[in-house]
Amino acid sequence: MHQSSAIQASAVPARAPFDAGFGVYVHWPFCASKCPYCDFNSHVRRSPVDEARYVAAFRTELAHRAAIAPDRTVTSIFFGGGTPSLMQGATVGAILDAIAALWPVAPDAEITLEANPTSVEAGRFRDYRAAGVNRVSLGVQALNDPDLKRLGRLHSAEEALAAVRVAGDIFERYSFDLIYARPQQTAGAWRAELEQAISHAVEHLSLYQLTIEPGTWFDRLYRAGKLTTPDEDLARALWDVTQEVCDRHGMPAYEVSNHARPGAESRHNLVYWRYGEYAGVGPGAHGRLVGADGRLAMATELAPEKWLEQVERQGHGLTGAERLTPEAQGDEYLVMGLRLAEGIVPARYAALAGRPLAASRIRDLTELGLLRAEGERLAITPAGFPVLNAVISQLAA
């Protein structure tokens, strides 16, 4: 499949509430170096990776998923990592071909690749475009060099912005990521940085508060008292600044950490948050597929070489495919769906969980101004967003 025709950044299709689309996630588990904050399934390899062998394994896994979930039309594909921008263009093309051989791919399918904004990687953007990728998501992370260095990044701010410009020239759509609430960052400094960033953003931005993930290098520093994170008040102030600046520039949060002009949302990620179906292939990829006997939660082997061997031996890399209980499905729908500004459909919750949400809890949270009911939907309010975890745990209890 070599789609080279321009695809319009069309508005999110108004789907029936129960049909969130069908996405395919491809995990590329390698990086040039490991960032100290990162707990993604990423590995650094000294010798070159045998990409052809991986392509074959991806093909095998994709076929395995297609057997479980045939008769779907792919509405989005996402190459995530790790660092997919380390892949050869031909590798990306071969994987896209494999997908198209198994399922029909919608003509307006969104095909995103996560890229690190170094000059080397920007040099491959044309190949990706030729292979069919129509959207990139760049890990810019910060716009000042000292912070980039502390985050362990291999690129400078200037190099990252250059990569953003290349992306803008080549792809119909692009987005980039920033990490805020960095050690010692003030609300004022973040406001200035965000204003600058937004001037380089066309339609989409992901803005993540730094999370200290267990097992990372930052976690060790944190526990040794050598790294401080903002207290609750500063974290809230940084959140408020983020919303204020983005709202003013017409890029409100459609998800907790994701901002877009209306219609420019990441359709692939919407599949997750709308609790749709997705196939995940590659080391450490997750999937949710509705098979003959219910919704399955699937996960694969994390270690790349072990995954490879298992796929070659067994025809798939799965370490588990758990059939989700109604309660588990209801819970997953809540934790994913309430992250969206559009919220959830309580009737769908009831259908998944086999019981409705407690009216008294909805009422209490609505009275506190944290939830609002709108037609058939129930959504978090701007006041509720920053305390979403507590709201969900109240609602689910």
């Binding site: 997750y272 949710r288 992250r339 949270l365």
Partner: protein, 601 residues
């Protein structure tokens, strides 16, 4: 035939301060004597309850029979009793001591003599035990065996010249301990032809065997098929099974004088065994009963309620079974406006309370909520009657009360001179009245009268911390005295929480109220709204704190791979919520009801 020694038997307890290595030493003795095959050895083998393994402490005294061929070429039977170190379980220690002739005193050579070293060794001396001091943990670089030897002589006043240096961890010195047990501890004495006389040391409920009774035989023999009589209750029972612990239950043909073992039989009821009772043969009664043990005195009371009201009968049954396992706690039914039907229970101390609650929840699969611990007050009513108040929530209208009396204790505290000042201040702060102060060698002995309600919550903890663990503490109830006591209520989000109500002395009310509000502010998690916490006497607010509303907790990243992770987190939160009690719109963690009372002055 008259009483004579049974030369091949030695019965001994292992006593020490908490964590000095009693249970680990027991492991080594079990291993060295080949009682358990090396591949079946675990750690702290005798700590058999989950809760003991997790907390790394011994709660129940345990016994095991070892067979040992000594250097003199003879075979010996050694009955070992491992005992708990924590002061709340001193009662367990006293029973074990009564069943033995000697004690191994374990002292951690890197720490030296500590509070419960003293308390336990004095108990052993009171029981006329021969004592073998053992200096443990000499593998540690910080071990100072010579200094600790001196300390044992100075502070305890026993000869430590032959104290045995060991490492229970590496096994160093263990053969010397076994030889010392044989050579230095006396054998038991008894008369096997006399009528059966045995001491009921402990008893518990086993789901397969029913009631299991641990006995120490004084005279005569105990055999399967006999009919025995409990002298205290006068009831008779058939004996089905007689055995010993090695450490698994192993049947034997009979138990003779000096031996320690168990029997099971037709005993059905919780109430049928009384620890300390004398067991004899129905057909041939012994002339004289043993003195028995003085009953354990519960000093802390609190209400225990099932979270789910439907569990009340299960809770009642569980209490019955646990009580058989632990004679030192008591319970009676009570009802609370907020918490429904439950039981008011008496405990030896706060750790004891915590552990009983945890065992009820775990072993009987119950979810419980506990109220603030309290003592028993006597209310003299205006109409001339007197009522006992076990639960502050039941306090009648103050207009109907003419006076309130509270229990007092006489406390004896021994401490190195250095900490005397801090200890006196602690006692004064707790409304104490000094009765006596003098010196025993380098140690000061101070006697105080104290109101029990100032002691139950956290006095041990405070004493331990101001004396770095070196003070030892003993007390007895001395009677009731009138006091200027008032009921203090705690309001959370403007609603009174009856389980947190307490009686306090008027002069202490404001300080306590402030401390409780501060504690609750830390213990109650942030909610989605602001929560005022107030302490009040009558309608008057005497202290106030506010828990701020939660401001930021949302997880930044959540993609396809995070659905499972987030769901599992939610499951955990749901579990956590089960341990919370809903008061109005506020969820209070169950631990808060007890923790709120511990003050860090």
């Amino acid at each position: 035939m008259a009483t004579h020694p049974f030369d091949n038997i030695r019965n001994f307890s292992i006593v020490a301060h908490i964590d000095h290595g009693k249970s680990t030493l027991a492991d080594r003795l079990i291993q060295e004597t080949g009682t358990v095959a090396a591949r079946d050895m675990g750690e702290q083998m005798l700590d058999s309850m989950d809760i003991e393994k997790e907390r790394g402490i011994t709660i129940k005294a345990q016994t095991v029979r070892l067979e040992y061929r000594a250097q003199d070429g003879r075979d010996y039977i050694l009955n070992l009793m491992d005992t708990p170190g924590h002061v709340d379980f001193a009662y367990e220690v006293s029973r074990s001591l009564a069943a033995c002739e000697g004690s191994i005193l374990v002292v951690d050579a890197s720490q030296g003599v500590e509070a419960q070293t003293l308390a336990n060794v004095y108990q052993a001396l009171d029981a006329n035990h021969e004592i073998v001091p053992v200096l443990n943990k000499i593998d540690l670089p910080a071990a100072e065996p010579e200094r600790v030897k001196e300390q044992i002589e100075d502070v305890i006043g026993i000869d430590a010249s032959e104290a045995i240096p060991v490492s229970a961890k590496t096994g160093l010195g263990i053969p010397d301990v076994l030889e010392a047990i044989v050579k230095r501890l006396p054998p038991p004495k008894g008369d096997e032809t006399a009528p059966l006389k045995a001491m009921l040391v402990d008893s518990w409920y086993d789901s397969y065997l029913g009631v299991v009774v641990l006995v120490r035989i004084i005279d005569g023999v105990l055999k399967k098929g006999m009919t025995i009589r409990m002298m205290g209750s006068g009831a008779n029972y058939g004996v089905d099974k007689v055995g010993v612990f090695r450490p698994k239950m192993t049947d034997v043909a009979q138990l003779g004088p000096g031996e320690v073992g168990f029997f099971t039989g037709s005993i059905k009821e919780v109430a049928d065994t009384r620890v300390g009772d004398t067991i004899t043969e129905e057909r041939r009664l012994t002339a004289e009963a043993l003195p028995g043990f003085k009953p354990a005195q519960p000093v802390v009371f609190c209400g225990l309620f099932p979270v789910d009201a439907a569990d009340f009968e299960n809770l009642r049954a569980a209490m019955g079974k646990l009580r058989l396992n632990d004679a030192s706690f008591s319970y009676e039914m009570e009802t609370s406006a907020a918490l429904g039907f439950g039981f008011r229970c008496g405990f030896l101390g706060l750790l004891h309370l915590e552990i009983i609650q945890e065992r009820l929840e775990r072993e009987f699969n119950l979810d419980l909520i506990s109220t603030a611990p309290s003592v028993v007050y006597k209310l003299n009513m205006a109409d001339g009657t007197q009522i006992e108040l076990h639960n502050p929530a039941d306090m009648p209208d103050v207009m109907k009360i003419s006076s309130i009396e509270e229990p007092w204790i006489r406390a004896t505290i021994m401490t190195p001179d250095d900490y005397l000042g801090a200890i006196i201040k602690l006692c004064q702060d707790r409304r104490g009245e000094q009765v006596d102060l003098n010196y025993v060698g380098k140690r000061a002995m101070v006697v105080y009268d104290l109101p029990l309600n100032e002691v139950v919550f956290d006095f041990y903890d405070r004493l331990k911390s101001v004396s770095k663990g070196y003070a030892s503490f003993d007390y007895a109830i001395s009677g009731y005295r009138q006091g200027d006591l008032v009921k203090m209520s705690l309001l959370v989000n403007a609603e009174p929480v009856d389980a947190l109500a307490m009686l306090v002395h008027r002069t202490r009310a404001e300080m306590r109220g402030r401390a409780m509000c501060e504690k609750l502010r830390e213990l109650i998690p942030q909610h989605l709204f602001q929560i005022p916490i107030q302490a009040a006497i009558g309608g008057k607010i005497i202290a106030r704190e506010t828990i701020r509303a939660l401001r930021k907790d949302v997880t930044a990243k959540c993609y396809g791979g995070d659905a499972s992770r987030k769901r599992k987190l939610l499951d955990k939160q749901k579990e956590g919520k089960k341990r919370m009690r809903q008061f109005g719109k506020v969820e209070i963690p169950q631990e808060a009801f007890i923790a709120a009372l511990k003050m860090d002055e």
